[in-house]
Symmetry: C2
Subunit: 363 residues, 2 copies
């Protein structure tokens, strides 16, 4: 489903603008660059909900000191393979980037390293950080909790976030495997797209206040934003299609990202509009493949597997089977050539932000 995208912008210009805006908000140069890169990467990969559309919200939080502009990471506990990090309310993108760097450095020495991070903020696309491990021939993973939107099986109260998990695994000639998924059936952003189009959503995406399937987007929005009763279903949907598994995955992410580092968890994770620190938590890690096997041979096997899936028989009307990450890699290549299409509303919000910050708006 396409939406009315009105402005095509060059990725480099978009990144430069985001970086400039962040610097104006007292974010140090390098940290502004990191954050801008993560945001633009999301748009390049087609995950608009986690891209530059978020910048005005971050800006508001930075202006109000609900996010600290200059990152400060305090390691509270450390072993050769583990880190407990207090992110001291720094920008989530900088936190996840820096902590993933630490995990990779540790894994270079100790083969495996995991970090639990508390007191952080929204990190954008989890896959970005998992993919940082690829260049070192490591498996990268990143999970984060998020504000509550998901109802547990047989429940109607949204008490779990869409809590994404991302895994990146290197290949040789094929594109890396990058699984970056919310543990809900769909993210809330997809509901908003359906609403704009006045379309009903499929059964299995959400339930209403009495626990019945909600197909009308107005109902879903009311449940999520007003009554806080009813909400998105976990991956798997209703109970009969194994929604309890997605509920379990969402809870697992919350345990590792929220409970382990003593961040907020479950219903306590702050919603984006809350005028206070979010205390979001993450769980990141890197696993060096060569601790287990020959990297070269592993990558050969990855390529073989990917090719055998791709070559397998297609369903009627389908001409292609995708591997995870493939669509996003292709979109990125396309958008680097053609520019990124932005929704007019997103473009306008960026323009307003430029005016508010008194910086140029060259997009």
């Amino acid at each position: 489903m396409s939406d009315c995208k009105e402005r095509i912008v060059r990725p480099e210009s978009l990144k430069a603008f985001c970086s400039e805006a962040l610097r104006k908000l007292r974010v140090p140069d390098e940290e502004a660059e990191i954050t801008a890169d993560v945001l633009v990467s999301a748009d390049l990969r087609g995950v608009e909900s986690h891209g530059v559309s978020r910048l005005p919200r971050y800006a508001k939080r930075l202006m109000n000191n609900w996010i600290r502009p200059e990152a400060k990471l305090t390691v509270r506990k450390e072993t050769p393979v583990s880190l407990l990090v207090d992110a001291e309310n720094s920008l989530g993108q900088v936190v996840a980037y820096r902590v993933m760097e630490l995990c990779i450095e540790k894994a270079k020495k100790s083969d495996i390293a995991f970090a639990a991070v508390g007191n952080s903020n929204h990190i954008g696309i989890a896959g970005y950080y998992a993919m940082m491990a690829l260049k070192e021939d490591m498996i990268g993973l990143c999970m984060t909790n998020a504000w509550p939107l998901i109802v547990p099986t047989f429940g109607i109260e949204p008490i779990l976030g869409t809590n994404p998990m991302a895994f990146a695994i290197p290949t040789k000639h094929e594109r890396p495997f990058v699984l970056d998924m919310a543990t809900s059936v769909v993210p809330i952003g997809k509901m908003e797209v359906y609403r704009r189009h006045g379309k009903n959503v499929p059964v299995g995406w959400a339930i209403d206040e009495s626990g019945e399937p909600a197909v009308d987007t107005e109902t879903v929005m009311r449940c999520v934003y007003k009554t806080k009763c009813g909400g998105l279903l976990p991956l798997g949907g209703l109970e009969e299609t194994a929604g309890y598994k997605g509920y379990g995955l969402s809870l697992l992410v919350d345990i590792l990202s929220g409970i382990l580092p003593c961040a907020a968890y479950g219903p306590h994770v702050g919603i984006p509009e809350d005028p206070k620190p979010s205390n979001i938590g993450h769980f990141l890690g890197a696993i060096d493949i060569k601790a287990f096997t020959s990297v070269d041979e592993f990558k050969d096997r990855m390529d073989i597997m990917i090719r055998s899936i791709r070559a397998s028989a297609k369903a009627k009307g389908q001409d292609r089977i995708y591997i995870h990450g493939e669509k996003e890699w292709e979109l990125e290549e396309q958008y680097r050539r053609t520019g990124i299409p932005l929704y007019l509303k997103v473009w306008e919000n960026l323009r307003d932000l430029a005016s508010q910050l008194r910086i140029e708006f060259p997009l």
Copy 2:
């Protein structure tokens, strides 16, 4: 849905019988005990498809030397946090048990340890091994690949297994969190139950040869066992309800369990009837909580989270929200008191096995 269960057996007697049968098949005493315990645990926890019903199949494989009776584990590569194990075609239960022991021992010294295992066999319930970490206040995980039954999104060829993943996480007063899930919507065993009852299955469980939803169990069985075209859907179901996420999870398990240790993977994992070693692979691990945080406080937070989910508002007609593993713990307590109900067919197969092995059948 209940099924015609005809024989109630005491768990101790059932375990003793399985152990005796395995010893008769040249499995050493301790290994027979381990295998019997894993099998009976599955029945106690209500996972009949992975319980003693499997014993005759294992027996056939042991008799034919398609499984080695005396376990032999060869460590091919080792670091303080990792193991690559060649299971030399030993009994899967013994392999997973022993390797999990090794992971826990390593994690006691190094905080985290993972093992990739190749050349193994069917391990039964993955949750059993993940749960071994609980008594050490560690997080346990276990994944294994399996023979191909799942179709990728937009595909019709079953090229991935139901590849389960299990995670066990300790608590204080509440029961531990144990997520033990196939990455398909349902296991094939559940289809068989529906077939016995002559019932259609819900849309979203399986597809037929042209990629259309299959609701008739005869169609599903034909796809899975005869045409090998069409099959079970990954968690999430069809594409519009995010089946590509379950497909990604199944592939992730296959990468870690199959590709990493150089076991069979994807379409190459042997079906249970294959007259040759299965070359199944596993990925196991243990993470010591105290490397990150106070175990005591972590467990308190787990309890709080579990209670807040349980106390949250219920959907109409529901009076309880379950935490993962809870149903299984309760069933186990009940069956330890009342005995385990076995399907008549399963009981008859065990009786026939006893006769074939010339051992007593006291069940």
